[in-house]
Amino acid sequence: MLKYKIILWIMLCSILFLYDTYVFSQEPETTPPENVTAVDTPNDDGSSITVTWDSVRDDSVRSYKILRNTDGGEFEEIEEQLDVDTLEYKDSNIEKGKTHAYVIQAITDTDAILVSLQTEGVIATGQWFHSGKIQLFIAMIIFCGAILGSIYLCRNNQDVFVRRIPGLEAVNEAIGRATEMGRSILYVLGLGGVENVATIASMTILGQVARRTADYETPLRVPCNDPIVLNVVREMVKTSYLDEGRPDAYQEENIFYLTGDQFAYAAGVDGMMIREKPAAVFLQGTFYAESLLMAETGNSIGAIQIAGTDSEHQLPFFIAACDYTLIGEELYAASAYLSKEPMLLGSLRGQDWGKILIFVTIILGVTLELFGINWITTLLQSVR
């Protein structure tokens, strides 16, 4: 019995062996490209179809050709030969609203053509919503919601807390010193126009300064370089003096038009500083390259200088040459705090919520990454 079994096994093995040698001695059978699929390209305007296929496991294949038919008609070549490494083709030259099916041809060294199976017919359609941008959309809703919500909540409650801003606290000190020394205060609003956010913030702060100077009867000098700003400022300062019950102390000629040109304005302000030796100089608003000239002269006459601007390039010079500087957003915060305007306060609060969200994302993201989990990084991936 055992003998038979052994013989049977030997025979079986030899047949297999023979068969194998027969198979391997033959030219390898090259298969055409497999798994050819055509899909409507996702998240586009419906102007393309993406065709993909598996790589042919054979070195003799040199390139691919793509054939396409329209509404079940004849197959036609649509592209020059594609590189052998190409496994995806985006056909952007389709007829809208018509069905296309595709066939891939693999071309070998010997110019043999291996034809794949035909794909299903596809009609390209445009998408109304880009699914890859869903996280961006959600983030947009959250950020905008936080800001609008905060503005809404601040409508009735204007006692919104704003942290201590050192530059703002120094305002009283500066005015006090000017009063003690019997000198004037110089307030420069920068070169921005009346539509400029920083200029508006600066005017709000000026309004507050004017209230104090009205009390102490300290002269407040405001050289302007924009006629429209000049008119608004005159109005504001007048109101401040009225509110404090000192309309008599208001002197319109102290708020005046100097000149509109950048360096000439700076030279004019410098001249005023040297002649009048103000005890305090405020430089608040939008500044350009002229910031340097005014800060330097103010420093040389020994005045207390309080600067504030969102012009990033001028901040270093203000910090180096002035006693206090409101940096960027601090200027907006100061004006929101002083004006008690619900829109400004609400936005400030809403943006703080945004910052908290960024804090949380960074801390969570960093922690997860350290453990090799990267879904937050993937979520923040840029999508076209």
Partner: protein
């Protein structure tokens, strides 16, 4: 009429631009393209605002005979000469190019180069390490300045030749910019971007309307 319709336009164009960012459909992309085209056609006319403001300022100066009002006449002479030649014959007219290359460019460049002098004078008379923060600022500025010019590395390689690495001055400058400066700037960018988003949504919804100006 004077406020509501512009606000409605603002809302419409704003929402259209947001929507088309998220929608790849060919209809929304057609809207997107159309809105951009509208923007392109409207923009060149915005120049009128700047020019009119400038003319009005100088006319006022001449009318009121403010100090140095005579110079305002020079502004008009320059402007009128340019416009009379350039508008009919185009910017590639040789006289326009000559005036541009030999009057406008050198003066603009010279005006800004005055700042090199002013920064030097302020360096001596105003930039003070009056607090720890200001000290940090000035110290960083010095390192970056040294690293910016080739003499920094030259001196480093001479004086610090016992150190294992060369070109230390430019390396340190690069590291400060790459790491410490990067962190600070990124903080600023994040903060400012939140501000931009906040202002944009207020503008679109008509909560912020200061750009409309005063009046009814």
């Amino acid at each position: 009429m004077k406020r509501q319709i512009p606000l409605a336009f603002c809302f419409l164009f704003g929402i259209a631009m947001i929507f088309t960012q998220f929608s790849p459909h060919s209809y929304s992309q057609a809207v997107y393209k159309e809105v951009i085209d509208w923007g392109l056609i409207i923009s060149p006319f915005a120049m009128v605002l700047a020019v009119v403001t400038l003319i009005q300022t100088h006319v006022t100066r001449i009318n009121l005979r403010t100090e140095h009002w005579q110079y305002s006449l020079i502004v008009f002479v320059g402007m009128i000469v340019m416009v009379l030649i350039g508008v009919p014959f185009g910017p590639q007219n040789s006289i326009v190019e000559w005036l541009y290359n030999n009057v406008q460019v050198p003066m603009d460049a010279s005006m800004f180069s005055l700042l090199a002098f002013f920064i030097a004078s302020a360096a001596f008379r105003a930039f003070r390490a009056r607090s720890f923060e200001a000290f940090l600022l000035l110290a960083t500025a010095m390192i970056v300045m040294i690293g910016n010019v080739p003499v920094g590395d030259l001196v480093w390689n001479k004086v610090m030749s016992w150190m294992p690495w060369t070109d230390g001055a430019s390396w340190l400058r690069q590291w400060i910019l790459d790491v410490l400066n990067n962190a600070a700037r990124r903080g600023i960018i994040l903060g400012v971007s939140l501000g931009v988003i906040s202002q944009s949504i207020r503008i679109i919804l008509g909560i912020e309307r200061s750009y409309l100006g005063g009046g009814d």
